[in-house]
């Protein structure tokens, strides 16, 4: 489903060259639920941006569902994001002043589909929020907002679901519920990629890709976060 070869991305920050991604290659197969884990500043967010077609790599090749998307134009990338990728963000990123249902409909409108309303209702049912369709995001709880965001990501039937710290802004119980939802979606055959710094979240996935200093690395042994609720790692804020 995803094949990335030798991805390189460098930034110049205050005169210093930062190698955000340094020769990263990875393969994610259809139906997998994979975690990309790494500490702050490891380059995992950059990797997610490139895998999510929000950004382009400096060199390397990236195949999404068999299509080389590493050299596409901005508008073509927008279309790839629209049809093949569903994003779920840490802070939900729903649009204010629009109902939950309208938020879910939006990607379909950009795709120019005429069955937007029906598809959006189905997606809201999938995440178990059919009864809250006409509430605005500000009237929903954090867990409900994240469910709406997941419905929005699902509604276009994308090749891959990209979740960036999906539980980061939720309490642990709600976080567990959201992860359970991801798992059930994965059980239905959905390919899911979860980006997180949290080993405990990563533990819910079938396998994990550990990033350190822009490279794929072996995770350090004896990670204190693993299988330990309320750990230090969970409390650490994610530096942006």
């Amino acid at each position: 489903m995803i094949r990335a070869e030798n991805l390189v991305k460098t930034y110049v920050l205050g005169g210093q060259v930062v190698h955000a991604l340094d020769d990263v290659s990875l393969v994610i197969n259809e139906g997998e639920m994979v975690a990309i884990r790494g500490p702050s500043g490891s380059g995992k967010t950059t990797l997610m941006h490139i895998l999510g077609c929000l950004d382009r790599c400096d060199s390397g090749r990236y195949f999404l569902a068999g299509q080389d998307v590493s050299k596409l134009s901005k508008n073509a990338l927008a279309e790839v994001r629209n049809r093949r990728i569903g994003f779920v963000f840490q802070n939900f990123n729903l649009l204010p002043r629009m109902s939950a249902l309208e938020n879910v409909e939006l990607p379909l409108h950009y795709a120019g589909r005429h069955d937007a309303l029906r598809a959006a209702r189905t997606a809201m049912e999938t995440v178990g929020l059919a009864g809250r369709s006409h509430h605005e995001p500000s009237q929903l709880s954090g867990g409900q907002r994240q469910r709406v965001a997941i419905a929005r990501a699902l509604v276009t039937d994308p090749a891959i679901l990209l979740a960036d710290e999906p539980t980061g802004a939720l309490d642990s119980k709600t976080g567990e519920e959201i992860l359970a939802l991801f798992k059930s979606l994965n059980a239905q055959g959905r390919t899911i990629l979860v980006v997180t710094h949290d080993a405990q979240v990563a533990a819910h996935c079938q396998r994990e890709i550990y990033i350190h200093d822009g490279k794929i690395a072996v995770p350090p042994t004896g990670d204190p976060a693993v299988h330990q609720i309320g750990s230090e790692a969970e409390l650490l804020p994610e530096a942006v």
Binding site: H49, G52, L54, D55, K74, N75, A78, E79, R81, N82, R83, F87, F89, N93, L94, L95, P96, R97, M98, E102, E105, L106, P107, H109, Y110, A111, G112, H114, A116, R152, T156, V240
Partner: protein, 402 residues
């Protein structure tokens, strides 16, 4: 579908910042109101004067001596029009309803200790119906008075008021240039027409004006009223022919009289009025432009404020065009709401001006369309730059924006 969703969201975001939106739209509101109100005043003035001109009848021909001169340099007027010419015109040419010889000059007028200086117009009784004058009190002098050089006068209402105050002038005797004239009547007021005031003049028999007052043998002009529905051009060429014959103009030389008709006046006046209206419209247009800058300002703020929203929209697949059109529609909605409010305000202002001031106002449909189209264009023009900025935002940067 997407369009209505965008309009709905745009409307909600305008409502979320009511004061700011109103302030941004104020420029457009005032601009549109100014265009409509100013054009209404301009059109009203134009219509009023055109009405007066056509009330005199557009089948009026005015025969005047041609200006003399070579190569376009006018070096005086020929003094060649006589009352015999006038008699010849009415005798030889068909389709003429009435005719009035006209001669005139300013004189000192006295009544007891009151005196004034005004135009004394010598003409025939036919002048009144031709030029749409009516007698207010007393009566007009007659052809008998003209033929017998009787020293009788009809006063314009302003002249009458200047000389007599509130007392009745009919039957009184005034002195024109030291010569006694008996007042037979006073005209009804027509109102000031700008280039001259028809209410401030004295009308006397043209024979008296020529031979007694001015001591001349020529006329200033001959006013010819054609029969209703007759062909003005053919009457005009008939008059030219009679004049060439009477004045023994050598074939090949230009005519020594010129004939104007009121249709030409109407054309000339319309052209001048159009210039005036364009001027007023431009002033309003400039204020619309200023209003557009206000909208651009607010749209730039909005784009910055909603950077994150733009990032989200891009992440879920909005193309540059989608973002561009969204912000353009918002700018247009703002200018359209402003334009409609301005339209209401402008029509209201025009109505109020018409009610409380002596200027009549006419709101023409085209001025409303013009103002609205212009304000929409301003919205597109000034919304374009902020919308382009929004569309060009990098999605990663935009998503990171706090």
């Amino acid at each position: 579908m997407l369009f209505w969703m965008i309009v709905k969201v745009a409307f909600k975001s305008l409502m979320a910042n009511k004061l700011r939106s109103v302030l941004a739209m104020l420029g457009i509101i005032i601009g549109v109101a100014a265009v409509i109100a100013m054009l209404a005043i301009g059109t009203g003035a134009e219509q009023q004067i055109l009405d007066r001109i056509s009330a005199m009848g557009t089948n009026l021909l005015i025969v005047r001596p041609a200006p003399r001169g070579t190569a376009g340099v006018i070096s005086g007027t020929q003094l060649n029009l006589t009352d015999d010419d006038a008699r010849a015109i009415i005798k030889k040419i068909d389709h003429i309803h009435a005719l009035a010889p006209v001669v005139g000059r300013s004189f000192q007028i006295k009544f007891l200790n009151q005196n004034t200086n005004t135009q004394v117009l010598g003409t025939a009784p036919t002048y009144l119906p031709i030029r749409d004058f009516e007698i207010g009190t007393g009566k007009m002098f007659t052809d008998f008075d003209v033929d017998h050089w009787n020293r009788v006068a009809v006063l314009g209402p302003v002249t009458a008021a200047n000389l007599f105050g509130f007392s009745d002038p009919v039957g009184q005797t005034i002195k024109i240039n030291g010569i006694n004239f008996r007042v037979t009547g006073v005209l009804k007021s027509k109102g000031d027409e700008g280039w001259y005031n028809p209410d401030d003049q004295i009308i006397v028999p043209y024979t008296v004006a020529m031979h007694v007052l001015q001591g001349v043998t020529y006329l200033r002009e001959i006013d010819v009223q054609c029969e209703a529905g007759s062909d003005l051009d053919s009457v005009q060429s008939d008059i030219y022919a009679v004049m060439r014959q009477r004045h023994k103009t050598i074939p090949g030389m230009p005519d020594d009289v010129m004939i104007q008709n009121l249709a030409q006046y109407v054309d000339a006046f319309s052209a001048a009025a159009a210039t005036f209206t364009v001027l007023l419209g431009t002033v309003g247009g400039i204020s619309l432009l200023v209003g557009g800058i206000g909208i651009m300002n607010i749209m730039l703020v909005t784009v910055t404020e909603r950077t994150r929203e733009i990032g989200i929209r891009k992440a879920i697949g909005a193309r540059e065009f989608d973002i561009l059109s969204q912000f353009l529609i918002e700018a247009m909605l703002m200018s359209a709401v402003g334009g409609l409010s301005g339209m209401g305000l402008g029509i209201g202002a025009a109505w109020l001006v018409g009610r409380v001031s002596p200027f009549p106002t006419i709101v023409r449909f085209y001025s409303i369309v013009l103002a609205l189209v212009f304000s929409a264009a301003v919205g597109i023009f000034f919304g374009f730059y902020p919308a382009t900025r929004a569309a060009k935002l990098d999605p990663v940067e935009a998503l990171r924006y706090e």
